[in-house]
Amino acid sequence: MYHVVCRITLRPSILDPQGKAIHHALHDLGQTAVQGVRVGKRIELTIDAESEEAAREAASRACETLLANAVMEDFEVESATELEAA
């Protein structure tokens, strides 16, 4: 069993109004060093697989079919960690 973390982000060419609003809010708070904000999603999956590679593959498949929309989002399988048997 693997704990797999997927990261889904808006494509660089897509404007991120939510990130922009957060950026403005941070500036209003005086945190003017922040030069840009992009908001994405982190999705954690628990996957029954024989190997780390198989777990990563299953996670990629989940991202391609449902978790990310290729029109506006990119995804990355960040990590896959084997879970201790209970």
């Binding site: 060419s13 897509i14 404007l15 109004p17 939510q18 609003a21 449902l66 978790l67 929309n69 029109v71 506006m72």
Partner: protein, 237 residues
Amino acid sequence: MARIAVLVFPGSNCDHDAYHAAKHVFGQDARFVWHKEESVGDADLVIVPGGFSYGDYLRSGAIARFSPVMKDVVRHAKEGGLVLGVCNGFQVLCEAGLLPGALMRNASLRFVCRDVHLRVENAETPFTNQAQVGDLLTVPVAHGDGNYTADEATLDRLEAENRVVFRYADADGQITPEANPNGSARNIAGVLGENGNVLGMMPHPERCVEAILGHGGADGAVLFRSALAHLGESVAA
């Protein structure tokens, strides 16, 4: 009498408006089709209604697009059957790949609920054949994720193939940034699928088909009249 199937997902909330318009205002043979059903039957027109299917979890329309009934909607569309997706229905059709592009969070980050003016850009579609290019329709919008986006090449192709059916305009019919309620690319409010039989739009024509409701009156009726004319039906209203 045209057979009109109105899909119902968990979280649909404009299904009854669409049914009412089809059945009571236009006197057609309308029926609800629950998303778990595997067929839309012999429907002439499938309406994918507005609402918040599956609570908009993950992305608007992302889960509904895998409901059992959607396979048959794709089949119906591929065979040339008419499909109208409104609001969440537009999002579902984009997620299902029947329409290009995607609907993102409104540029204002606010839910927008008001009347807008739509300029008819193509009056030779199954849904606008009773209108004229340049006609202004007053139709309500009510959405948080209506910001139409697609890559530049797709947008260029949509325009070249005359598949932008409606654009957000001001009261004089001018296409301006101020008239754009959600930040949609090129003020696009409604687009046609590549075979011309599938239309997705954020505004709600089914909510304005009766003059008694005021505002724009019955400007949404022209879509229903057009679809019925396309299907060879005489129109009751």
